[in-house]
């Protein structure tokens, strides 16, 4: 057995590897239900996090030549991130469960020592009621931190709060 390498912060200068094209998962011509996921990131004082790195992964729709399934986006001067992707479908959970459509999200930034992991679900999705992960969160206000709400025709918003009263639910992974 080996021991996993310790994580360290991504720091303030990770933009050296930033490629803004990565925020658009449809850039290779993928077709399907095109959506935008937008949001802001704030710290425990409510201050905008303007040097963050948000990563997105989705196993649905399955990645292929034209759909990478992975995206990366820097938060801008207003703490905002914006992805363009395809709306995911439900995916199998453990055992005989079905997971509601969701996006897997990493949050990396100066001051974050080990990446934070969370998910973005979609408001109004009937499968949310039976989702194994959402079902673990008893407090409706806490559960709501994982649910993106529609703010436009195909735009969904999920703000991320690193700390505070409306702190996002972060997931052990």
């Amino acid at each position: 057995m080996s021991i996993a390498t310790a994580a360290q912060t991504i720091g303030p200068y990770w933009h050296l590897l930033d490629d803004p094209a990565l925020a658009d998962l449809t850039r290779f011509g993928a077709t399907g239900e095109r959506i935008e996921l937008v949001g802001t990131v704030r710290d425990g004082d409510g201050e905008l996090v303007t040097d963050g790195c948000i990563e997105l992964w989705q196993p649905s729709p399955a990645a292929d030549d034209v759909f990478p399934g992975f995206g990366r986006c820097a938060t801008d001067a207003h703490g905002r991130f914006r992805f363009i992707t395809l709306k995911p479908g439900p995916v199998p959970g453990r055992g005989n469960t079905l997971q509601a459509p969701h996006l897997a999200i990493n949050i990396l930034a100066r001051g974050i020592l080990t990446r934070l992991y969370t998910r973005a679900y979609f408001e109004g999705e009937p499968l949310n009621a039976a989702d194994p992960l959402l079902g673990l969160i008893e407090d409706p206000a806490r559960r709501a931190t994982l649910i993106a709400r529609p703010v436009g025709l195909a735009t969904w918003q999920m703000d991320i709060r690193l700390q505070g009263n409306d702190e996002t639910v972060f997931i052990e992974v």
Partner: protein, 262 residues
């Protein structure tokens, strides 16, 4: 920002991740928090307001954590693992020429082939080619400071660069970062994702670095310190340092049909 980055991730011909039905999705090894930095580490001031206060929600890993992006060789440019040449304009960058190499393994000791390893660093004077870095050490016109590579079948990777310099930062009055290279590693699943920093054997700044010291375990710190590897060096040309990386382990099929929460 770095013109090098613009060529990345183009022209994908990667395959979809292998389809894994739910029962065969496996699971990730439990994370050993005793060798990882906590979210809240007051010695590193920026962590104070950027650390969640609630406990993390425990979850049996599922498809979203057990699959991940696949990166292909056609996304990697020929100079992407050569920071001495990939930004060179009028000559080589100033600094000690070094090779950094090692293997990416999982906790079972298995090689992780095809892992994307990204790296970025300050130049030999301790200055990043980044608009927010205002340190008085000069920008090196021949040094961009970032690159990427994919691990081979045996999990090995290597890149060539110049040794980065230490630099001051605003934490305490006289805080200096030891010389370090930032690394980002994608294993086979999103659950294995790792961002870390590599330090250099013999650097007296490591011991007093508030970011290093967020790690609660001395052995875990020592594993971030790359030893000199004279055998891998190029005589009369370039010294080498060895840095092995261990990602979380992942079981397959052991917990087939296991119910959520059991």
């Amino acid at each position: 920002m770095n013109e090098l980055a613009l060529g990345a991730f183009r022209d994908r011909t990667n395959q979809a991740p292998p389809a894994r039905p739910s029962g065969e999705a496996g699971s990730l090894f439990q994370r050993d928090r005793s060798v990882q930095p906590p979210a809240y580490a007051p010695g590193y001031k920026t962590s104070v307001l950027r650390s969640p206060r609630n406990a993390l929600l425990s979850l049996e890993s599922s498809l979203s954590e057990l699959t991940g992006p696949v990166f292909g060789h056609n996304e990697i440019g020929p100079l992407d693992n050569d920071l001495i040449r990939n930004y060179a304009k009028t000559g080589d960058p100033i600094g000690e020429r070094i090779i950094v190499h090692g293997r990416v393994l999982d906790e079972s000791g298995r090689a992780v082939p095809g892992a994307l390893v990204e790296f970025w660093q300050a130049n030999a004077g301790g200055r990043y080619r980044h608009k927010k870095d205002t340190y008085l050490a000069p920008i090196d016109p021949n040094f961009g400071g970032c690159g990427r590579t994919l691990t081979l079948e045996d999990g090995s990777y290597a890149f060539r660069t110049v040794k980065p310099g230490p630099y001051p930062w605003r934490n305490y009055v006289n805080s200096w970062r030891p010389a370090h290279i930032h690394l980002s590693i994608f294993g086979t699943s999103f659950g294995q994702r790792l961002i870390t920093q590599m330090y250099f054997e013999g650097d007296p700044l490591i011991r007093i670095c508030p970011i290093v010291n967020t790690i609660p375990d001395q052995d875990a710190i020592d594993r971030l310190i790359a030893p000199l590897d004279l055998n891998a060096s190029a005589p009369l040309d370039t010294l080498a340092y060895r840095f092995d990386i261990v990602l979380r382990g992942q079981r397959s099929t052991l917990f087939e049909n296991r119910k959520e929460g059991n």
